[in-house]
């Protein structure tokens, strides 16, 4: 069994037996001819199945140790499809410091369909356990939260869920299967905004889901096909292409992130640093044991709100932009960007305030990145 990074490099390599092409062709087609009545080549309409998208879907399933993968037009579309598995009256427990778009979807769309949600600190098992009710049917947890980087004990959470027939869904965007495989730890479903690390180049919007139970896979497929929020063939091909360098990108990004976090931790104008690679971080020991790394997201609080604007606008290499996980280093201001949809009182309690900045560390030379931050601080 080859290593994960090897598998990733070889995605689609042997697909085209006819020509020997080392990449999968882009099947820019909507429909497929039937060889005869009642016969099919396995493909009939691209919403239902497309060969290029299938290589991506099979690829992520293999990397994640699942039985089937699904590709969507965005991470949010993937999450929406999973929420459609639930029914009126179902209750879900959710990570409290999660991406604002997920919160918005749950509160402003799904709540009206009589789904209810309780937001807790999912890095504390007892908090999750206390939130369980008879009608709890799902747990939605970010394995590494956005933006405070709290680590979830996926194995512990999965055990809690399995005992009570609760579907354990893990948004593993910040870690990727390269660093942690939630299905191996007992989760039922993993979900990714592939827009981030998987595609890795800030150039496509896409979502991926992996499932390990065949019956569940059928239900997820029914929704993917019926609702049709599928990823197009060009974008699928670009995500496949991006995934080939997942290993080397994440290795470099993590190396950089560790050095930057250590540099920030002793900077006089920084009040606090959130990075799991720092020994003082609450999730450090857990991730050291259950993951192959600490990721490449670093959040930090500056001592003065005026520094926020300076850091966002004065950096020349680091770009002030939404999103994360790509080769370029990006800096964002969660309070007004990614977490704007979360209620102010909740943000305040969580520590997502006007001093908090989030850095998605890329693959540039770390000295250049630190130099850029240093000059912006002045």
């Amino acid at each position: 069994m080859v290593k994960l990074s090897t598998q990733a490099v070889q995605l689609g390599l042997n697909w085209d037996g006819r020509t020997g092409a080392v990449t999968v062709p882009i099947y820019q087609t909507a429909t497929f001819k039937h060889p005869g009545l009642g016969q099919s080549t396995g493909y009939d309409y691209s919403r239902s199945g497309n060969p290029t998208r299938k290589v991506l879907e099979d690829g992520i399933a293999a990397l994640d140790g699942g039985v089937r993968g699904f590709a969507y037009s965005s991470g949010m579309a993937a999450i929406t499809n999973l929420l459609l598995l639930f029914s009126k009256g179902d209750h879900l427990i959710v990570t409290e410091d999660l991406y604002g778009g997920t919160y918005r979807l749950f509160e402003q769309i799904f709540r009206q369909y009589d789904l209810s949600f309780t937001y807790v600190d999912t890095s504390v098992l007892s908090e999750v356990e206390n939130a369980i009710r008879p009608e709890t049917k799902g747990l939605f947890v970010e394995s590494l939260t956005n933006p405070l980087l709290k680590a979830a004990d996926v194995r512990g959470l999965s055990e809690l869920c399995a005992a009570r027939d609760i579907l354990c869904i893990v948004d593993n965007t910040f870690l990727t299967p390269y660093l942690q495989r939630p299905l191996d730890l007992g989760a039922d479903i993993t979900i990714y905004s592939a827009t981030k690390y998987l595609a890795g180049h800030n150039d496509t919007v896409s979502g991926l889901v992996v499932v390990k139970d065949p019956d569940l896979a059928e239900k997820v497929y029914f929704l993917q096909n019926s609702v049709g929020a599928v990823l197009g063939p060009q974008d699928s091909w670009l995500v496949i292409r991006g995934m080939k360098t997942l290993g080397i990108r994440l290795d470099r990004q993590q190396e950089n992130a560790q050095k930057i976090a250590e540099w920030l931790a002793v900077h006089p104008k920084v009040r606090q640093v959130y990075y799991p690679g720092l020994p003082g971080h609450p999730g450090h020991a857990l991730l050291a044991e259950t993951a192959r790394g600490f990721g490449a997201m670093v959040s930090f609080e500056v001592i003065d709100p005026l520094l926020v604007e300076r850091l966002l606008l004065k950096t020349e290499i680091i770009s002030f932009a939404e999103s994360l996980g790509g080769v370029e280093t990006l800096i964002t201001f969660p309070e007004v960007q990614t977490h704007a949809d979360i209620l102010p009182e909740i943000r305040a309690r969580l520590g997502i305030n006007n001093l908090l900045l989030r850095l998605s560390v890329g693959i540039e030379d770390v000295d250049d990145l630190i130099g850029d931050l240093a000059q912006a601080f002045e």
Binding site: F222, L238, A321
Partner: protein, 378 residues
């Protein structure tokens, strides 16, 4: 400017930045910001991408709406619009609606508390009868799939307005070149852009267009939160396809007319369904609301055996699902577009085992007829 000119000259024909004679493909997920207080027009591609936006503005213009939305598929467009409704809402839907729409209504949205009644909307009295105190929407296709049944859009819109219902019209078969539901008083136009709009059987996409700004804001919210968006490459391809919409429709209609006339003279053909036939039910209603009969026709063959041979032995028309492409496509609704509808439901609607649907492409009609002749009469 006439329609044929407008599809080419619509404000997006020249790129303002470089003067390129075309829309650049913005294969990107995020955008740099220059200010913390005032974000730029674009921040994250799910929320807005310039290539997709050019397409959305174009389709809005062509349908005489104020705002357009591009989705990953026709079903994604339909599902996104259906998410405007709330549990307890009831919808009146045309009974021979596309099987995929039937499926999401009966297997998904019903579970979310939205109910639907399927009625013969060609009879406005049937629409009135079906309206209940909790009815909130009216969903129509005209000409319908696959029997090309005609619904009086202005009449239906009038009834809808009396009862405060949102009218949704799937205008896939006609396209705005031939029919503009917003002009007839309807609220939302939907498209499987996969079909005639893109016109090359190579992109899966969907659209929603509206006129009312408040409704536009609500759909925009769903598009952004759910994220079932169309990618930039696909958007660009659809923009390209749209440029030939008029000439393609003109030619396909001419071909359809010739094929229809020929089929009507064949003994092996029982019935022909085509809005251009004076004997077609709704002929005058259609002529009053549309500029042409379109390029899709259906017909019943004398025996099941001959039906099978027709599907398997034609060499020009591809035996496949879908329609609206440059190549003619022959389909078998009972096992394809309406396979998701139970057999009893299908038969009651006239979708029998000898019914065949033909989407006429751009081949010379003489060749198409010769091909049909060879199989039917050879």
């Amino acid at each position: 400017m006439k329609f044929g000119t407008r599809i080419i000259h619509n404000g997006h024909e020249v790129d303002p930045h470089t003067k390129a004679l075309g829309v650049p493909i913005h294969q990107v997920s995020t955008f740099h910001q220059d200010s913390v207080d005032h974000f730029g027009k674009y921040d994250y591609a799910r929320s807005g991408n310039p290539t997709r936006e050019a397409l959305e503005e174009t389709i809005a213009q062509l349908e005489n709406g104020t705002r357009g939305f591009a989705f990953a598929s026709g079903m994604a467009a339909i599902s996104s619009v259906l998410l405007l409704f709330s549990p307890g809402d009831h919808l009146v839907v045309c009974e021979d609606v596309y099987g995929g729409t039937y499926r999401v209504l009966t297997s998904l949205f019903s579970r979310l508390g939205i109910t639907a009644s399927f009625v013969d909307t060609t009879d406005l009295a049937e629409i009135r009868k079906a309206i209940r105190p909790n009815t909130r929407g009216l969903y129509l296709e005209t000409p319908s799939n696959p029997l090309l049944k005609i619904t009086d859009l202005a009449g239906a819109a009038g009834i809808a307005r009396e009862h405060n219902l949102l009218t949704m019209v799937d205008n896939t078969f006609m396209t705005p070149y031939l029919q503009r539901p917003l002009d007839l008083g309807c609220d939302i136009v939907l498209h499987s852009g996969t079909k005639f709009l893109n016109g090359h059987s190579d992109v899966i996409c969907g659209f929603a267009v509206v006129r009312d700004p408040a409704l536009a804001a609500r759909i925009g919210f769903v598009q952004n939160s759910f994220g079932a968006i169309l990618g930039p490459q696909d958007s660009w391809l659809v923009l390209r396809g749209l440029k030939t919409l008029k000439v393609r429709m003109d030619e396909s209609q001419r071909g359809a007319r010739a094929v229809v006339d020929w089929l009507c003279r064949q003994e092996s053909i029982d019935q022909v369904f085509y809005p251009g036939l004076e004997t077609h039910p709704g002929f005058s209603v259609h002529r009053a609301q549309a500029a042409g009969p379109g390029a899709v026709l259906s017909f019943t063959v004398s025996t099941v055996e001959l039906t099978r041979r027709l599907l398997e032995e034609l060499t020009l028309a591809a035996f496949a699902v879908s329609l609206g492409g440059v190549e003619s496509i022959i389909s078998y609704p009972a096992r394809m577009s309406h396979a998701a509808m139970p057999r009893e439901e299908r038969e009651v609607r006239g979708i029998t085992d000898t019914l065949v649907r033909l989407s006429v492409g751009l081949e010379d009609p003489e060749d198409l007829i010769a091909d049909l002749d060879r199989v039917l009469n050879g």
